[in-house]
């Protein structure tokens, strides 16, 4: 009932253009559309809805392989990772060009001038700037969440085509995530320390980090799964709980199953994620499904 109610809600809120907005009646965006597609993947009766959605998603694809986050936004952003993820699941070769775009994108902290400034102690950034992740928006810095979305997508794309460049870029991103872990064992947006104060982790970012690090030995992030389980139990954020359920399940953990009669939210992204994180949901689609490229260089 929980899962079917969410699937029904998603199908009933699909826009005429084939996509989903963040809320019913709002214009379509890549993020809720991508997660609605993943949630409805393989669901009986959803085929025509999915095919319409894929058409819209591909209409946001640019000649260089990157994706716009909606028809309203004319710049390509982190959502390119979602395009790669969907195309990789469909084994659509268009994922390869988009993968190249993502591999070439890096956080601006990796610019030489910035690294030199840090090397000569003109700054006191207690972070590893040599291993960039990915930004939300080109030209900006790396953050945990876009880095993890990209890692999930690139690892999935590696099942279509593996190259040294792709695998080494994946490793760079993983090292960035490992280096940004908070002292409490989880992750926040990407700043574990500020002005010498330890900052606390966020549950949703901890879930993203775990998803991005799939394939690595959990010994490299000890206690993180236990931290995530505690967060899943205690968080007041429904969105964070949904992400944590997905992350814990791909690691084979069994977080508490939500009450079957828990009503759907009007938040479409949340609804899609709750469906994905259900024991019978499609959370496995976020599993890389390929052997890991290797350990830390």
């Amino acid at each position: 009932m929980y899962l079917s109610a969410r699937h029904d809600f998603l199908i009933s809120t699909q826009n005429a253009d084939g996509g989903w907005g963040y809320f019913p009646g709002k214009r379509s965006w890549m993020e809720p559309t991508a997660y609605a597609v993943l949630s409805l993947h393989g669901v009986a009766g959803a085929e025509s809805h999915l095919s319409q959605a894929r058409k819209l998603v591909h209409s946001w694809r640019q000649p260089d392989g990157s994706y716009h986050p909606s028809s309203q936004v004319q710049e390509s952003t982190w959502v390119t990772a979602l395009g790669v993820l969907l195309d990789s699941i469909d084994r659509d070769q268009r994922a390869l060009q988009s993968t190249d775009w993502l591999v070439g994108l890096r956080g601006s902290e990796s610019r030489l001038a910035v690294r030199l400034a840090n090397f000569f102690h003109l700054t006191d950034i207690p972070l590893d700037l040599a291993h960039p992740g990915w930004p939300w928006f080109p030209g900006n810095s790396s953050w945990i969440e876009p880095t993890c979305h990209t890692l999930i997508a690139l690892k999935k794309a590696a099942s279509l085509h593996r190259s040294y460049r792709l695998l080494s870029r994946i490793q760079e991103g993983e090292i960035m995530i490992l280096s940004r872990r908070c002292r409490d064992g989880g992750w926040n947006a990407g700043t574990p320390v500020a002005l010498s104060y330890d900052l606390r982790s966020y549950p949703e970012c901890t879930a993203f980090a775990l998803l991005g690090l799939q394939g690595r030995s959990t010994g490299e992030f000890p206690q993180a799964l236990q931290v995530a389980e505690t967060m899943h139990r205690d968080t007041k954020s429904s969105l964070a709980r949904a992400w944590l359920a997905i992350a814990l399940r791909v690691y084979g953990r069994q977080p508490a199953t939500p009450m079957e009669d828990l009503p759907s939210s009007r938040d479409i992204l949340l609804t899609a994620l709750q469906a994905l994180g259900h024991p019978e949901g499609n959370h496995r689609l976020l599993h890389p499904g390929v052997p890991h490229p290797g350990g830390v260089a």
Binding site: A117, P135, G139, S141
Partner: protein, 324 residues
């Protein structure tokens, strides 16, 4: 060349860097502009606790400042930051509820509450945790997550040719900044002007809104306030935050609401109440052509500053901002 710590804000605030653009030498400050002609009314009203009749005080303050909200589409913009209802991080729900009631009473055509938090993505649950849903009548029908609203572009925001904002904001006739009176470890203070950071959509720029760090924090504060001129401020200083704000500071009971149409003057007044010299606050210096920083250009209504003043503990880097 001497570099100050805050010159590295774009690097440190984000933990990483765009960096070199901000490596500028410390310069003698230019003389402060007198601002626009005339004086700006700013009302300071006492409210000892959140159980006081906040709506009555707000109504009185708004009348003192001569705001006409009749027929306007009003967006109330609280400061929602973090899931931590036991602390004073967020604008108090009672202040939001009172403002919602007052602007309806003032004849606004529509009153909407909107926020786009900088770090947390679950805006509705954040509002719920801050007790907005339980306190504000028909909250969910009138709340917009500005991070995930539909968007349109505006031209010439700061140095950006085009910049995206939520359609709810662009459709508002009046934006009311319902800010919290707090210290801030990057900007010195966070008041009504910085509260407009929440107008920038996360769906385009991410969480945090890193694009603003690259523009520069003071520069972004001023650019937002230069773009949105149809504004009014109500600052929640009933209980503020001092020390390592805006998240990890400690409560500072002060018992005031500060309001006005000139957000520069409201923030300058809040600074003086907090024991901060507004003429040393970088974003206020930069905004001195938009509104009034100097006290002789601010028409103080209600309480006077001396009667409510209480020094806020400042982050060590900002000790130099102390009002002498």
């Amino acid at each position: 060349m001497k570099l100050k710590r805050r010159d590295f804000i774009p690097l440190a605030a984000i933990g990483v860097a765009s960096g070199y653009a901000s490596l500028r030498p410390e310069e003698e400050p230019e003389p402060l502009s007198d601002g626009p002609p005339g004086k700006s009314p700013v009302a300071i009203l006492r409210a000892k606790s959140y159980s006081d009749d906040l709506a009555a005080r707000m109504y009185a303050g708004i009348q003192e400042c001569g705001l006409d909200a009749r027929g306007k589409r009003v967006l109330l913009k609280p400061n929602l930051v973090e899931f931590d209802s036991a602390t004073v991080i967020n604008t108090d729900a009672m202040v939001v509820a009172a403002a919602y009631e007052v602007f309806q009473k003032l004849g606004a055509a529509k009153v909407v509450i909107g926020e786009g938090p900088g770090h947390r993505r679950d805006t509705l649950d954040l509002a719920d945790d801050a007790k907005y849903r339980a306190t504000v009548s028909r909250f969910e029908d009138n709340f917009v997550d500005l991070n995930r609203d539909d968007v349109s572009t505006v031209r010439n925001f700061s140095q950006e040719k085009e910049f995206y904002f939520a359609n709810t904001i662009l459709g508002a006739d009046l934006i009311v900044s319902l800010a919290k009176m707090k210290t801030h470890h990057w900007a010195g203070v966070t008041l009504s002007m910085k509260n407009l950071f929440g107008l920038v959509p996360g769906s385009v720029y991410g969480w945090p809104k890193n694009k603003l760090h690259y523009i520069g924090i003071p520069e972004s504060i001023v650019a937002l306030n230069r773009l949105f001129r149809n504004t009014f401020a109500i600052v929640d200083g009933v209980v503020g935050m001092e020390g390592n704000g805006p998240i990890q500071g400690t409560p500072k009971p002060l018992g005031v609401l500060v309001m006005g149409r000139d957000l520069v003057a409201v923030d300058a007044t809040c600074c003086r109440i907090m024991g901060v010299d507004p003429e040393k606050v970088e974003y206020l210096r930069m905004a001195a052509d938009l509104g009034h920083v100097k006290p002789d250009h601010i028409d103080q209504r209600g309480e006077n500053i001396a009667s409510v003043h209480s020094d806020f503990r400042l982050a060590p880097d900002f000790a130099g901002l102390r009002l002498s």
